[in-house]
């Protein structure tokens, strides 16, 4: 044992007068680190209540509870996370998975209370002193627990797509679909926004499971046009998908299409439910568009005899005559319609009500009537010279092409309008070999057309001239040509907060000659098949009407739906109108059920 070993321990005294490590609490405050995982903060205005925080919480410390201030909004479930600090382990996974980045943690870590129940609180709703803390744990930039980007849809190149009317989108393969399906957080917020309330998370789940037959069954619960909607749906679901808040929304439409693509038409009968036994009731349906056929499908499922009257030679309505085949191939539309007829729905083609069959006779011969004749009359611009022979309607051109007729547009055309019909008229014209200019009175961002359609339209070489207001159509030197005079517009903000309005600048006018001018500025309904008295009785207002619950009109037997009976005028809304009318008609035809319900309500 050395002397050194005996002495060196006394070195400890050297440190006796050093500054201590410890902090004097509570005299000195010791805040948590800037990224400390302390108590929860929720920015309730940005939170959409998707519940991913609840799903990921391994401690079961989060409940989703209704918060009145946020009740009943599209894209917001109205629920907000409530934390049980008796269970929380402050792992912060809830912050990491939060689709809206509304959930955070403050750097506050001290909370003293003698009431154990106070540690059970709704962050951001119950007032807590750390709610506005600037510091605390946030999800780091570039850190994701769910891929923010969607799987891109394989498509024909623009050059390739111009060569024919072949479908532009090619569809996901299985690997792509499973990857995309994987991005769904299964909150179901989309279900509320989908007009037909399709079981979106469920059928996406079936893709992950590889069970496409189940997926198809799920889709038919609410939509007998899955092949169609999988291609051309306006997909409001995607606009509210929480995954889309920080990244790109789940490609719900393409996933729907993927399921349909996986199932062969001949297997439909085996997979899908069959109608129940006949009830003996007869229902007439006017119009074989998506609204009419949807009603027909669900009524037939309920065992009623259904007859659909259609003025055209084929079914589908606007889906066939208004949507070109490069977006929706006929075979796909037929896949949907054929299944509807295969369960016993009878469609009488070339039967125009008011001409071939009288509306009054339907009222007499059937137990209920569903009308869904849509918007088939193109709106007019009401400018001078509009009746020129070389001014064509966009709808007519689409219908001609759908029926294999040559619309005779020439080589240089101008399309007026910014909706989907305008875009389709333009793209069809490109395929027919014309040079296309689109004149639109507002900005491209104001266009009501689908963003993708606008993009593809540009890809295919259409020139979009925004803020161009047509003022006059003038005869050209040649009868086969026509001139249009249009003026540039400047956009003026609406002081009341509406969308900006275009104001014509009369000093900036242009005149250009075209082979034809395609007008596609909107449609209205054609109600010629109804007498004025009936129109009055059904309470049509400028060609449209707003039905009561279950699509019922003021006439006992008559139900309506589709574009002329809703504001959104898209296929999926028409499909839901048809389905809802079917529910209504079913109730109406089963008076027992009806009275039982009324008794219950009173």
């Amino acid at each position: 044992m050395s002397l050194k070993d005996l002495l060196s321990p006394f070195f400890v005294w050297q440190r006796a007068f050093e500054k201590p490590y410890t902090t004097l609490r509570p005299t000195l405050d010791r805040p948590g680190a800037p990224a400390y995982r302390g108590f929860h903060i929720n920015i309730t205005e940005t939170c959409v209540g998707c519940g991913s925080c609840q799903t990921i919480c391994q401690n079961n410390a989060i409940d989703m509870v209704a918060v009145e201030a946020y009740a009943g909004r599209a894209g917001d479930s109205g629920l907000r996370p409530r934390f049980d600090y008796g269970r929380c382990c402050w792992c912060g996974l809830c912050v990491d998975i939060c689709t809206a980045a509304s959930l955070r943690m403050s750097n506050e870590y001290a909370w003293i209370s003698d009431d154990p129940d106070s540690f059970h609180f709704t962050a951001g709703v119950d007032d807590k002193p750390w709610q506005d803390n600037e510091l605390g744990y946030r999800r780091a930039e570039g850190y994701h627990l769910n891929p923010p980007k969607r799987i891109e849809m394989p498509m024909l190149s623009a050059q390739e797509s111009l060569k024919s009317f072949a479908e532009v989108t090619l569809g996901y393969n299985e690997e792509q679909a499973k990857k995309e399906a994987d991005r769904c957080v299964e909150c179901g917020i989309c279900v509320a926004t989908c007009p037909a309330h399709m079981d979106v998370p469920d059928y996406i789940h079936s893709i992950r499971d590889g069970d496409y037959e189940k997926g198809l069954q799920l889709m038919y619960r609410t939509n007998p046009f899955p092949a169609t909607c999988g291609r051309i749906c306006t997909r409001r679901c995607e606009s509210v998908c929480p995954v889309g808040i920080l990244g790109e929304p789940v490609a719900i439409r393409w996933l729907k299409r993927f399921i349909v693509d996986q199932v062969d038409k001949k297997d439909y009968q085996r997979i899908l439910e069959k109608p129940i036994a006949s009830t003996g009731f007869k229902v007439a349906i006017i119009g074989a568009g998506p609204g009419g056929l949807s009603a027909a499908y669900y009524l037939r499922q309920q065992g009623h005899a259904v007859t659909v009257y259609e003025a055209q030679a084929t079914g589908g309505g606007m889906l066939r005559y208004g949507v070109p085949s490069y977006r929706l191939p006929d075979a796909e539309l037929d896949k949907d319609i054929d299944h509807i007829t295969s369960i016993g729905v009878e469609i009488k083609y070339n039967s125009r009500i008011g001409k071939d069959v009288m509306f009054e006779s339907l009222l007499e011969n059937y137990d209920a009537v569903f009308m869904s004749t849509g918007l088939s009359v193109p709106s007019s611009m009401r400018i001078n010279g509009e009746n020129h022979a070389r001014v064509l309607s966009g709808l007519q051109i689409l219908a001609d092409v759908a029926s294999d007729r040559d619309p005779g547009i020439g080589k240089k055309v101008a399309v007026i309008g910014g909706g989907n019909v305008a875009m389709d008229a333009a793209r069809v014209s490109r395929r027919l070999g014309a040079e296309v200019t689109i004149l639109y009175r507002r900005r491209i961002s104001d266009m009501p057309a689908d963003e993708e359609e606008i993009h593809e339209c540009q890809q295919e070489g259409c020139t979009i001239v925004p803020q161009a207001i047509p003022v006059e159509i003038i005869d050209a030197d040649n009868k086969q040509k026509v001139c249009i005079k249009w003026g540039e517009a400047k956009m003026v903000d609406d002081p009341k907060g509406g969308r900006a309005r275009p104001v014509l600048q009369e000093d900036k006018m242009h005149t250009e000659t075209y082979d034809c001018i395609i007008s596609a500025i909107g449609q209205s309904s054609n109600l010629d098949y109804l007498s004025k008295e009936l129109q009055e009785q059904l309470a049509f207002e400028w060609g449209k009407l707003t039905p009561a619950e279950y699509q019922h009109t003021s006439m006992k037997k008559v139900f309506v739906g589709g574009d002329f009976a809703n504001r959104t005028a898209d296929a999926i809304s028409a499909i839901e109108d048809g389905h809802h009318a079917a529910r209504g008609i079913n109730r109406f035809l089963n008076p027992d059920f009806y009275t039982a319900l009324e008794k219950q309500e009173n």
Partner: protein
């Protein structure tokens, strides 16, 4: 029409006539919906009349300096004749064009009188009509020109 009061009386009468016009058409149209819209238009004209009455009693000031947005929608539309089965679009076009005519009238008159109180009133009335026109044009822009 040389005095301010005369001008105002004329303008008030015009508003009343407009209201009468819409009520008259409303009696003849076939659908209840259209009838309601025309009666709404008539109400709108009666509201205009009230404002002018208030101007006459001095309770309200006209504001000829105010800038009113001109969307110039009606300027290029084909004229519409009133009939029993006019559409909503037709009704709006009629309304816009009537307001435009009134605006032009007061404006023209104002150009012909010397500066002074009278000119001030005429210009003020023109602006008032421009406001009405904007009301209908904005409605047209919103409801009719949806896809355009």
């Amino acid at each position: 029409m040389n005095t301010v009061d005369e001008i105002l009386d004329y303008a008030i009468e015009q508003e009343q006539l407009a209201a009468d016009f819409y009520e008259d058409v409303a009696q003849r149209v076939e659908t209840a919906g259209m009838k309601k819209i025309l009666l709404d238009f008539a109400e709108e004209e009666k509201r205009h009349k009230k404002i002018l009455l208030a101007v006459k009693t001095g309770e309200h000031e006209l504001t000829p300096e105010q800038e009113i947005l001109d969307l110039k929608i009606s300027d290029y539309l084909v004229e519409v004749k009133t009939s029993e089965n006019i559409s909503y679009q037709d009704a709006l076009i009629i309304a816009m064009q009537r307001e435009r005519a009134a605006y032009n009238l007061y404006n023209d008159m104002a150009q012909k009188v010397p500066d002074g109180k009278l000119k001030h009133i005429l210009l003020g009335l023109a602006k008032e009509e421009a406001k009405h026109k904007l009301f209908f044009e904005a409605e047209y822009d919103e409801r009719v020109l949806t896809d355009n």
